[in-house]
Symmetry: C3
Subunit: 201 residues, 3 copies
């Protein structure tokens, strides 16, 4: 996957998670500034944490178009919300797409830094799910990934699938299939209310 | 602005935010240790986050006088509190001064690392407001900057003003005016209960 | 202390804190995935924060056996819990052992990076106590170290003791005595319900 496709994925993930974060802050009735901050943290928080853990420069710092895209996305969200009947479903669909895109991106960054598959998958989970964890911490909620249907587990399944599948088919196909797989698992899990067993007597 | 003035600003900000954090922890009736930790996080959390994002060594790590100043400030706060009738007003004034000082410092550090104005302003907001966000997360509150009167918006206005004004007047004048502007916007916003519109029907 | 003993301490701390975190998540009735994440954050969060502050590569990133040990520890915890009558006491004992081990490790890492004793002790506190703070933030609690009996104060006492004692006896003896001291202070503090005075009228 060349730099361009990778950048497009990152860009789409940023827009999608910024909208998802902005919706989430709107449901808590935050002001315009709070909505922007929550959009920012949701969109860039996972990748920022990944880059800090890798001890490499944070990706959006020298690329000021990322923050600008987040601000524009949050701003547009304020206006499109009136045309969207069901905020909840929109939120879940955008979130699932972002989850797939970001997980793949985290795995790629791990591979580019010569890490093992297990560390790559952890970076994928962090890139995909940690923006949402930071969002929930700032909204003073217990992070949704601990309470709700299968979420980060989709990243784990997708990551394991990718490391098996990438030797079988062209690597670009493996990437796109993995993104779709993660997104599908998440949406199916929400639809049928799947969750992980709790192991309590 | 030479290193000395920059150091004095940082020092003042540390003292002011340590006191502000310590007051905040006292209002929650934390013990002496908790007060010190909250003072520490409020005073050094924003700058620490800024340095981590810049991927440079954290400023207080090799300068042990910073933590010591925080400890002394928190310790003194424990004793001066009896002489201060209205904790709430003291807290707000100290916090506004610290906000202006730290925002300017974050912008300077961004410029020193050759970042664009937009990234510099984001670093200014993080340096100024993120210590308070970490404080509120540790106190298990929804961060005040999302709920209250104009706060981080003052940093944005100050930052934009600085990048316009610094070509017009000597740069030191622009810095001091910016610090006063941010501090004033914050205090006036509290006084007249200004907040950002919420965009809800 | 050669690399091997240091690694053994780190390994023991990881297992002990992973179990402590997993117990804590079980008491909140999280699902298996949530238990693993909380175990992970409790076990590796303090050391990760320390390494980020030191601007050095995060220790577990290129050593994938650490995450694997955490997963195995969390998994085993799910099964051993039925054989343990009193979760609360188990939790406290494991936590106290981990606290002593990690504080010593943080001090060592600070010394290896040529920091002053005061910064080393701060790193010791962060390594020992910050995993638990992150755990409590994710569980949406006020961090226990602010509310409960003496906790991080034990790290401070142990750290000061170590820097005094290490010139008197062989350094390995000083290390083991410091670990035991921190662990004992914590356990005695819980047993006799010791806490820090609150300084309120």
């Amino acid at each position: 996957m060349d730099v361009n496709i990778s950048s497009v994925i990152e860009l789409l993930g940023v827009i999608v998670f910024a909208i998802s974060g902005a919706f989430s802050a709107m449901q808590k009735r935050f002001d315009a500034f709070g909505i922007t901050i929550i959009g920012f943290v949701t969109a860039l928080g996972g990748g920022t944490t990944r880059d800090i853990l890798l001890n490499i420069p944070v990706f959006w710092m020298k690329l000021p178009h990322y923050p600008i895209i987040v601000f524009v996305s949050c701003f547009l969200t304020l206006f499109i919300k009136n045309y969207i009947k069901n905020l909840k479903i929109t939120f879940i669909v955008f979130d699932a797409i972002g989850l797939g895109l970001y997980t793949m991106l985290g795995i790629q960054k791990g591979l580019a830094n010569h890490l093992d598959p297990s560390s790559c998958i952890i970076l994928g989970i962090i890139t995909g799910a940690f923006g949402g964890v930071l969002r929930d911490v700032l909204l003073n909620d217990v992070p949704h990934i601990f309470r709700k249907e299968i979420y980060a587990t989709a990243c784990v399944i997708g990551g394991v699938f990718y490391f098996g599948f990438k030797h079988v088919v062209p690597v670009d196909v493996a990437r796109i299939v993995t993104i779709c797989l993660i997104c599908s698992i998440r949406l199916v899990a929400v639809k049928f209310n799947w969750s992980i067993p709790r192991f309590y007597s």
